[in-house]
């Protein structure tokens, strides 16, 4: 017999998917089949779309599901830590976003590899960055497919098996993004961003009051039973170096080196749009974690009373403790709100999945195929090839999801650790200095060493390497970054820098745009770069 919440849940999820299809259809009607429009929406997205798109894309299923599971074991430390990396992410968008926007518009960049390859004058660096980007995206895509499966499985009371739900919603996501590209993804992000934010708060307030009587009584009872959850332990997740790692991973690397978010910076209409989006993003990204504290503490309290299954039981049954919030909702919220919650969690997952599919497709078709092998490739062919890549990647994510690889947080951290290694290359481009300290050889070797150190530090113990995972609580990706930076710096001392012409074309342009006034006409928003624009032929 189906659970009582299954009918309303599936009805609300159906309405949500219909809305997504409607918005996707509207975006499809506006689409021009060329790479500039398909990948970066002709660089014309305004404040509301940019803000909610960055926010919804940044927060995946991780924000809705994992945050409750983690705060059930870490308590208020989750809030203390998460406000750091979410606000740092917004500040990084503010600081670096307009710089990337200026360079993207001037030189026609669509991807991160475009910018890196242009500045360091290296085709091999483009391929390296593109391959790493494509590989490390897979865990993130997998995470969203896991969320799809879990949500539909629990939400339908077992009527829709995990594997079927994961596949069906992966296909829904890929459908609207291959039809409408960046515009569809960003417009739907607006719907998803509003939905997930509202529902996370609504469910937390309701569940806390229904299950325990409100935040005050909840804190009273936690104080009696698990007082450690009301302070910051300073060990494990909340150890200073562990939190510092998360700030580097999710605050620094995620917004500027993950292709899916970085493309949003190119797609914005102008720098003030990015600036105000950053301010609004800081509020959104952080405050969505506040309700997670209360749902997490509610879970912790109920586990103590025996009224809720333990985390070990949940993990044994569903393959991950991320199922805690859906289970809490079905136990204490009215059926219709359970449906709204599940649709909200789907919104969080879809709003990230769609952008990752697009980002990977652009990396494969634009960076690897077009820029490396076929510069004269037809625009329509490149866009259609990208659509095929998205379908393939969606299936790949689903395949790994049915293997149930574990806690979403670990997978997300692995993904971001991989792209964290691009930070030195990006900083050297977007923060001009009197000297260019890093060279293409230095950057190339640094990235390779950084990735090796990251993987060895993370997986070494499993293959017998005598090293602990994340030594001294510093994440493997950060150890990789340290090794990366040292190697890049030392090798750059002995290898040739980018040519003075390129340095002037990029650093000189940024200097004049940011501090010295305009120097020439901007190229048209959706037109090709021409010699008259003073643009490069790298775009």
């Amino acid at each position: 017999m189906a659970a009582e919440w299954a009918g309303p849940t599936l009805a609300v999820v159906g309405i949500y998917i219909a809305l997504v299809a409607l918005v996707g259809g509207l975006a499809w009607r506006r689409l021009k089949v060329n790479t500039e429009d398909f990948w970066v929406a002709s660089r014309r997205l305004g404040f509301l779309v940019t803000f909610l798109s960055i926010s919804a894309t940044y927060h995946s299923a991780f924000a809705v599901l994992t945050s409750t599971a983690v705060s059930a074991t870490t308590g208020v430390a989750w809030w203390v830590g998460s406000f750091a990396w979410t606000t740092v992410a917004a500040l990084v968008v503010w600081l670096i976003g307009p710089r990337m926007w200026h360079l993207g518009r001037k030189h026609g960049y669509i991807t991160l590899a475009d910018m890196i390859a242009d500045f360091y004058e290296s085709r091999s660096l483009r391929v390296l960055v593109a391959i790493i980007m494509a590989v490390f995206v897979v865990p993130y895509v997998t995470v969203q497919a896991i969320a799809y499966g879990l949500i539909l499985d629990i939400g339908s009371g077992g009527l829709i098996p995990y594997e079927v739900g994961a596949l069906a919603l992966s296909l829904v996501t890929v459908a609207y993004v291959i039809l409408g590209g960046q515009r569809a993804s960003s417009w739907i992000d607006v719907l998803q961003g509003i939905w997930m934010y509202a529902v996370v708060w609504a469910v937390a307030i309701l569940v806390t009051f229904v299950a325990v009587g409100g935040p005050g009584p909840l804190i009273d009872r936690i104080l009696e039973t698990k007082p450690d959850l009301l302070t910051v332990a300073g060990t494990g997740f909340s150890a200073p170096l562990a939190l510092f790692s998360l700030v580097l991973l999710f605050g620094l690397a995620l917004p500027i080196t993950m292709q899916h978010l970085q493309m949003k910076l190119y797609a914005a209409r102008d720098p003030p749009t990015i600036k105000w989006s950053s301010v609004a993003t800081a509020i959104y990204l952080s405050s969505i974690y506040i309700p997670a504290i209360f749902t997490g503490l509610t879970v912790a309290y109920l586990i103590g009373t025996g009224a809720f299954p333990s985390m070990a039981t949940i993990t044994a049954q569903y393959g991950t403790s991320d199922a805690a919030l859906p289970l809490l909702a079905v136990q204490y919220a009215p059926a219709i709100l359970v449906g709204v919650l599940f649709a909200g969690a789907l919104a969080a997952a879809m709003s990230t999945q769609d952008n990752f599919l697009m980002a990977t497709a652009v990396v494969v078709t634009h960076d690897i195929y077009r820029k490396t092998f076929r510069p004269d490739a037809n625009e329509r062919f490149v866009v259609n090839s990208g659509r095929l890549v998205m379908i393939g990647l969606a299936f790949l994510g689903w395949f790994f999801a049915i293997l149930r690889p574990g806690l979403i947080l670990d997978l997300v951290a692995l993904s971001v650790a991989g792209v964290l290694q691009f930070v030195p290359a990006v900083f050297c481009i977007v923060f001009p200095a009197k000297r260019v300290w890093l060279t293409k050889t230095g950057i190339f070797v640094g990235i390779v060493i950084g990735e090796i150190v990251t993987l060895v530090t993370l997986f070494g113990p499993r293959i017998g390497v005598p090293i602990e995972v994340n030594p001294f609580t510093l994440h493997a990706g950060v150890w990789g970054l340290i090794a990366n930076f040292v190697a890049a710096f030392v090798i750059s001392l002995f290898t040739p820098s980018p040519s003075p012409e390129t340095v002037e074309r990029i650093h000189g342009y940024l200097e004049k745009q940011l501090y010295g006034g305009k120097t020439g006409p901007e190229r048209p928003a959706s037109g090709p770069v021409t010699a008259a624009d003073g643009g490069s032929d790298q775009g």
Binding site: W94, I219, T231, K434, H507
Partner: protein, 78 residues
């Protein structure tokens, strides 16, 4: 070998006094709201609005950061 560019001063260094002050203030906020600042507020009592003191402490610094960002976007870094 490092190329020398025509950039007169690193973009990582503030060029205006108000920028330097804002950057220092934002660092201070993180030092207080995060490690090591949270160590001086890492207790449940006194509870404010029924919430643990450390929770309110972190939220207050978060609010200060948001206010700083809004003022900076509106009045300083136009």
């Amino acid at each position: 070998m490092q190329a020398v560019s025509t950039v007169q001063r690193s973009h990582l260094l503030p060029r205006r006094r108000v920028t330097a002050i804002l950057v220092a203030w934002i660092f201070f906020i993180y030092l207080m709201g995060q490690w090591p600042g949270w160590q001086i507020a890492n207790h449940v009592e006194p509870r404010i609005l029924g919430l643990p003191f450390i929770f309110v402490w972190a939220t207050a610094w978060w609010g200060a950061l948001l206010a700083t960002m809004i003022i900076a976007a509106w009045k300083v870094w136009k």
